[in-house]
């Protein structure tokens, strides 16, 4: 017997009224806390501005991300990898033996899509490189660049040029890990220099951070693309 999948959503009743009241009270408490904050802000803005020349970067946000709080960013990459491992752990074993293919159709790419991709893909990759380079001194950076490249890869799947099989091969998996390993490796290489983990020497901080950003860009692009591929299934990535 076929049952509709969507569960019926509850109508407004006593439980909803109670939850709504509690959420409204929470909003009131938090708003009161926000209004009661002292007018003079307490922050780390001045401390960051003071030590900015040591970071090797001109953009304060990226200096915080990749130098002052580099450990956060390193763990953030680990979280992305964990999400990918978690996603793949949920796939049935048989899904791994499905040969690569494109879930849309086996037919050749449509000419108008190919024409669009010929314009969009080089421009987008150029924009990604620009974002990566810009990140040193202006808003931009590795994560933004990686996201643009992942979007290009998804476009190529929609244009039926890349296979959509989401578990990838050895190379995509290596690419997904490269950023984290490079980041952690450079962080560990600071130890023999008499510095702490991820405490880059100011003289060579900029080249180190650029290398790390290049690695992160690659890993973010591959990881987001594989995450967007969804849960591998026995039907080879077909939804």
């Amino acid at each position: 017997m076929f049952r509709p999948v969507d569960p019926p959503e509850p109508r407004f009743g006593p439980v909803e009224a109670l939850t709504g009241g509690a959420c409204l009270a929470l909003f009131g408490l938090l708003a009161w806390a926000a209004l009661a904050l002292p007018a003079a802000p307490v922050g780390l803005g001045e401390a960051v501005a003071e030590r900015l020349p040591e970071s090797g970067l001109g953009n304060a946000v990226n200096a915080v991300l990749l130098n002052f709080r580099a450990f956060d960013t390193l763990l953030e990459k680990a979280v992305l990898l964990l999400a990918l491992v978690g996603l793949w752990a949920l796939a049935p074993g048989v899904a791994w033996r499905v040969p690569p293919g494109n879930f849309l159709t086996e037919a050749p790419p449509e000419p108008q899509l190919v024409l669009l991709l010929k314009v969009l893909v080089p421009l987008s990759l150029l924009a990604a490189l620009y974002l990566l380079w810009l990140g040193a001194d202006a808003p931009g950076g590795a994560f933004q660049a990686g996201t643009v490249i992942a979007a290009v890869a998804i476009l190529l799947v929609l244009g039926r040029i890349l296979p959509s099989t989401s578990h990838g091969g050895a190379w995509p998996r290596a690419g997904a890990m490269a950023g984290f390993l490079l980041f952690a490796g450079i962080g560990l290489a600071c130890l023999p220099l008499g510095r702490a983990f991820l405490d880059f020497p100011p003289a060579i901080a900029k080249p180190l951070i650029l290398a790390i950003e290049a690695g992160i860009t690659l890993s973010v692009a591959v990881t987001l693309f594989l995450l967007a591929g969804g849960l591998p299934s026995r039907r080879g990535g077909r939804p």
Binding site: V5, A31, A34, D72, L80, L84, R235
Partner: protein, 113 residues
């Protein structure tokens, strides 16, 4: 009311609204969307609070970028869990089987997946 405060209060309102949706909705995708809206509210609070007093504090902004990445990872994993649940049981909510009186058999549409 200053502009940073307005952004912070809007962020807090989003958090409260999304929390209500997260607690009362049954459809798992609705709950995952509610979780994302709640995260967006928190990011808005961070952005608003960081810009109080003229100069913008870069540390909360950096934390928001990290938070966005973690939110993406969380959403991907949550959607995968919901999809697996649907493939196994044909259901997309967390209610106990049979409590709605419907027969507890997998959705035929889900078996082919």
């Amino acid at each position: 009311m200053t502009q940073p405060l307005l952004y912070s209060l809007c962020g807090l309102a989003l958090v409260a609204l999304a929390l209500h949706a997260f607690l009362t909705r049954r459809h798992l995708v609705r709950r995952i969307i509610a979780l994302n809206v709640m995260g967006g509210g928190v990011f808005l609070v961070f952005g608003g609070m960081a810009s109080r007093g003229g100069a913008v504090d870069p540390v909360p902004q950096a934390l928001v970028i990290t938070g966005i990445v973690v939110a993406v990872a969380t959403t991907a994993l949550a959607l995968a869990l919901a999809l697996r649940l649907f493939r196994e049981t044909g259901r997309i909510d967390l209610d106990e089987p049979n409590d709605s009186g419907a027969p507890d058999e997998p959705n035929p549409g889900a078996e082919a997946r």
